[in-house]
């Protein structure tokens, strides 16, 4: 059996991050958002983590526990990464995920983009999924703004369009 935190440390390495990044708030936030998106259909790295809505977007307690384990077992995780790789079938999704994570749009760079994108996606597919498409889009963007007043409404609109382009949202 391969424990989840080993696979997650491999994902971190593939995304160009180090285990030590998890010591920082920004690193943990990136970890949460990248796993959230990795599990979505276009990328296909489903590991079964469940998320709930937090001020910085979708958040998983279980994933947070895994981050702690990665830090505690840093050397074992590093050894696992040296000796293992993702299956070739997963690589395509992984490359797409790297491209997605590197999007800089409307003044939102890297982590800020991921945070807004994950929040919009979570609201769209979760608590507001019952609404009709037009109302849903307005409510999703409004709720995202309410959660994150420091991001401009126009920026949320642009990120929303980006999610549509990536077929993460079918509006």
């Amino acid at each position: 059996m391969i424990e989840q935190h080993y696979v997650l440390s491999l994902l971190l390495r593939e995304m160009g991050k180090s285990i030590e990044d998890l010591n920082q708030f920004e690193g943990r936030k990136y970890f949460q958002k990248i796993v959230y998106f990795a599990q979505q259909a276009p990328f296909g790295l489903n590991m079964g983590f469940g998320f709930s809505l937090h001020p910085h977007g979708p958040y998983s307690k279980e994933l947070s526990e895994c981050a702690k384990r990665i830090l505690q077992q840093g050397q074992e995780c590093a050894d696992f990464c040296t000796n293992n790789h993702f299956r070739p079938e997963v690589q395509t999704g992984l490359e797409q995920l790297k491209t997605f994570a590197a999007i800089n749009t409307s003044g939102l760079v890297g982590l800020d983009f991921l945070e807004v994108a994950a929040t919009l996606h979570f609201l769209w597919t979760g608590p507001l999924k019952h609404l009709a498409v037009r109302e849903r889009k307005e409510r999703v963007i409004a709720s995202c703004n309410e959660l994150k007043p420091h991001f401009q409404n126009s920026a949320c609109q642009v990120v929303f369009t980006e999610l549509e382009n990536w077929k993460l949202i079918a509006a």
């Binding site: 491999l10 489903n46 937090h54 079938e89 997963v90």
Partner: protein, 481 residues
Amino acid sequence: MRATATSNDLEYGGGRIYESLHGFIHLTKVEKEIIDSPYFQRLRQVKQLGLAHLVFPGGEHTRFSHSLGVLWVIDRISRHLQFDPNTRQILRLAALLHDIGHFPLSHTIEEAYSIEEKAAKANLSKKLVGSTPNGEMTIPSAQESTPGLSSADAALHERMSQYIIEHTDMPLGITNILKKHDFEPNIIGSIVVGSSDQMLFNQLMHSDIDADQMDYLIRDATSLGIGYGRFDIEFLIECFTVPKDGNNILCIKEKGIHTVDHYLLAKYFYYVQILHHRTRWIIEAAAQQLYLNIVRNGSADQIPAFSSLTKWAGDPLKWISFDDAHVMSVFRQTETAGTLPTEIGCLFDIVLRRKIPICVYEQTVNCQRNDPAGHLALEACRKAMESAAPDSGTDLSATGVKLHQCHPRKPFRPVKNLEDRLRESEHSDKDELIKSDRDVIRICDKKAKSIELVDQNAASLASTLGNIETHVFRAYKIKPS
């Protein structure tokens, strides 16, 4: 949708029901229809505390009465906070339905399925890593680990409840009833798993001081006839407030600080004295292991495999028969059929005939977090526990039940302190955590100008208790026949 003040009342019209703890509860039509549905009536056959009645004879109360009780508590809070009738109704429905997907024997069977879910997740990870000799591999789909269930970060029974709320659109199904009365199932389901876009709703149903816990602490204490678990619920609710400029979050007025302490201590003693009672623990562990064996040995016609849980939940005929009596009957039939390995036999003795293993070692240790001396004491206890554990053959190890119990990772905590919260959650700093975390208990001053976490308030015992962990070490062996 915003919680707003109004003097309008709910339109009842669904009759009333006398509930043993809270008295008469007046019902609306949609609530009456839900209560009369087979899905809700099933809860009469699911005991709130699983097999605890084998230790505490009074533990016969069910998820049915608890669900009604949570409705009463949330309504009492909603009236106090002057929510409009629509908001009240939505919260009442979420309360009524929060346990609609609970498993037979409550958390005992839930834990067995959670173990299966973990195994399914580990299997997903395995599929992602390594080489593929023949080049053929199916990338795991989003549904593979939890078929049909949402990916909310919530307990399995909560996700099952959400599933039943949102996916039973057939006559007498919960979704069907909600839609008929113009309520959106997804809104109710999101509150049940604590993922509503309205933080206040999540807090009232899914936080460290929510309606669910406020009911079960008092209900369990009353039914069991014990003192642990009681607190002043009326005064606590009177101290609930939502400051106008406070980001629409729930706070407790400063004058209620000792009531909050009482609630936290009640919860702490309840966990230590009831949920982790030494005899209850071994009975539940045995039942859980027995159930896992039956699930894994393929009794798909009698009980659902993890992968077919939602299929069962979506079939009213199957789901309503999936209750405590059914599981106990499956245990008896399995023993008679002799289909499980012989070493499992002692588990039948524990669960069906109450032959309780002897606890040969037990030590409870309270220590300060991050205190080196405390951790040395814990290590000494662990060694003593392991050396007290009997040899295989006379113990439970062959059955898969752990012959010892300790909580190195999950000690009992009366309350988490700010540092732990910050370490464990996704907040950039203390201010943000205080402003926006779902789970924490906030105290505000008279004019609601200053808001802080309960463990930061010097007047609260939580400021000291937040540093304490309780660890329990136990070893058992089977009684000689």
